[in-house]
Subunit: 455 residues, 2 copies
């Protein structure tokens, strides 16, 4: 460790409690994008947190939730675009939280609360990285741009239009951000690709209103129609049966395949963590990470029809709905997949099933041989004291195509949450060690990238 | 019409507004048995309404909701046991009601509110029948017993034990009651059989808690397990596929078949009423009433898993549940059907699907050739001025086996609601004309039954 780096670490250590207090203010502010709760307030709060450390920041409106954009220009130096999101998932079911989702609490070395790991602590890391670098160096080694959006949890509908509109403003040498989580072994990670997404809601209809269920001998049931339609989409061996679904799946390259093979995997520990007797077998081959990275999904995220309260009610439902998220891999295209879903349902006699599209994300991957990769893994190795793992892709979907395809920047995801973060679920948490390792990584990687990218 | 009968009709006409005012007090009292809302209050109110007309009435506790029992003994005369229920279905979804469910309102010749037709107005008919007969005759021609329970909408778990325990107290020549609805043509009906019921809740489980849906390549989904399991229960041609489900279905007798053939049926009007393009075809033969009466069902009354709120959430659900009501015909037995369901799921690889039984009702039928039948159809003909229709059975389930099998009484169901009553659904209603025709039928049928049953 260089002398400078130990000074940076000392500054972080000395300001530990204050960093957490500031983070907690950010966590207490709900920002549930899918139902427009607290979004404007959270954007304003984030803007102020960034201005406090000297980032030139403004709240930029979109057609729904604003972007918080900031910059610290450095003429002649390379520029890094830092991305993240300040919106969070809905906290329901509330009764399964140990402490309220928007009252963050530290227990067992973790900060518990909605949006802790996904993604507020992980974007706050870069605000404190800037503060620390400035406090120690008086200046920054690279130009920095910050693009913090409020629509990631609803599929980032305005991010691509925003990037197209502000391509010049957002220009940079690489995109860099922290989302997702590190490996369950505790080793840090770099992620080079995210999945795409086609999220749809299917609706089946029967009689014009709910009927007494004695009519079931004569009146069609929306619930049965939905069950029968869903059943055609995926077979019980977990293979997606939508005709042509796998057609555009690009097989992994040899380098990708070798890199995945190096990812440590304890399937016994995974089974215990999930509380399942067995992990699902793969379509092409078995292996948790092989499938997580290379296989698309067709998941039922929600299912509802008829009476779902306590006790019994004898009703013949007039409506049944399923929310379906399909995670896509290169080179699947969300709009093409939606067309195939429609054609599949029609072909199987389910012309009556309605499809409403909620959002679409294009899958993306950054090449493994980019020169920034060894710089990033080096910084992680020094900050964490353990060997980083490189993921050619991961199970999560996200708008990386905005960087790789629209802004034409290689894109590196460097997570600092732990694998038991429970994001999207009750008792979401952010590891305290991960939060501070994130800042320690940040203050190392930006100076080193300045050197490498200048060449 | 006899002179006496016209005096009875005059009394009913003269007291029309007061009868409705008293009924509305009864309707305003919620009594939702499935979630224990207002049950004790409603029993006490009903008890007072009965005492007000001189019925010797008391509230008799059961292990859950009390029975309201009353009697007017008449030594030497035949006795009729009048049955009904004061509990109602939950009113949800509330947003689909035109006016609040427990604030009854008259519109278009109907009383709207939860529990109007099912079953409060139809049990109140007999309270006003007693008042009218006494006001005109000073006395009653038959002995009457009243058994009004509070658990019909949850499958009458305490009715059979109560009948067994109080067999002497409940002894009578026939059982007689008003539930269900008259024919859609407006012609009155007599129903001689009700279906049985096996109501179960199926639960599928995946990971120990909900997971981020990116895990869907490796972690089993409760929602897909449930869809695949449900799909094995019923094929898309509407045939129940549980092995042995139809084994004990007794084919209709020739008399039952001929009687059903006389039921008028306008399938075009039914399609329009339900808002469907086609009625379901039958397993044995087509025909709405043939299937309604003779075919058992396997209906999905409720379906829930994962996120069902507005917008999108990407969750891999850890639990999925389906409420299933199976309506049974003679000689199917609910416990046997539940065993067959378990065996079926096991045989198809769904040993992991949990089955919780909610309630069981044995199907029942009264023979068409009983001497009370022509008396009842005669009274209906005179009160309504149109020809009654006899149903050997109907789609609704109910505890008629308590009368036919336990109390050994032939059991006649004489409905006065109309077919568009929307019971179990939003905007439930009771036809005003039906309510008063019910009282006009009551004051005719009891004196005539006194004659016929005395022989």
């Amino acid at each position: 460790m260089t002398d400078l780096e130990s000074r940076l670490d000392e500054y972080i250590e000395a300001n530990r409690d204050r960093f957490l207090e500031e983070l907690f203010v950010f966590l207490r502010q709900p920002s549930i994008s899918t139902r427009d709760e607290g979004m404007g307030e959270c954007a304003a709060l984030l803007c102020n947190l960034m201005r406090d450390v000297g980032i030139d920041t403004r709240v930029m409106p979109t057609s729904r939730h604003p972007v918080v954009y900031g910059e610290i220009p450095k003429p002649g130096a390379p520029t890094v675009l830092v991305y993240g999101h300040y919106d969070v998932q809905p906290p329901e079911p509330l009764e399964l939280w140990t402490t309220p989702p928007f009252e963050p609490q530290i227990r067992n070395g973790k900060i518990y609360g909605r949006g802790t790991s996904d993604n507020k602590a992980q974007i706050f890391i870069y605000i404190k990285t800037v503060e620390t670098l400035r406090a120690v160096f008086g200046d920054l080694p690279v130009g920095l741009k910050f693009l913090y959006e409020g629509e990631e949890e609803i599929g980032s509908p305005n991010l691509a239009p925003f990037a197209r509109e502000h391509k010049e403003m957002l220009s940079a040498d690489i995109a860099y951000f922290s989302d997702s989580h590190i490996h369950e072994s505790g080793r840090p990670m770099v992620i080079l690709g995210l999945k795409g997404m086609a999220y749809v809601e299917l609706t089946a209809r029967g009689a014009r209103i709910d009927q007494h269920s004695m009519r079931a001998t004569g009146v069609p049931s929306a619930a049965w129609r939905l069950v029968w339609a869903l059943n055609t989409l995926k077979t019980s061996d977990n293979r997606i049966a939508i005709e042509g679904f796998y057609d555009d799946v690009r097989p992994l390259t040899n380098l990708e395949r070798e890199t995945i093979a190096q990812i440590p995997c304890d399937e016994g520990a995974l089974r215990e963590f999930f509380g399942v007797e067995a992990l699902l077998p793969g379509r092409v081959e078995d292996g948790y990470y092989f499938n997580l990275i290379s296989e698309p999904t067709c998941n039922i995220a929600g299912l509802i029809s008829g009476y779902t309260g306590p006790g019994s009610k004898t009703v013949l439902p007039s409506v049944a709905k399923a929310k379906i998220d399909m995670r896509l891999v290169p080179n699947q295209k969300p709009d093409d997949i939606c067309c195939k879903l429609r054609a599949h349902l029609d072909r199987h006699g389910f012309q009556d099933i309605e499809i409403e599209g909620h959002n679409e994300i294009i899958p993306s991957r950054t090449p493994i041989d980019h020169p920034a990769l060894p710089v990033i893994t080096g910084a992680l190795r020094d900050a964490y004291g353990s060997e980083p793992i490189v993921f050619p892709g991961i199970g999560g979907a996200g708008p990386n195509y905005v960087f790789t395809d629209i802004l034409e920047q290689p894109c590196f995801v460097v997570p600092h949450a732990t694998h038991d973060q429970a994001n999207h679920a009750p008792d979401e948490s952010m590891d305290l060690a991960g939060f501070f390792n994130g800042i320690r990584t940040g203050v190392r990687v930006f100076p080193r990238l300045a050197e490498t990218l200048r060449r």
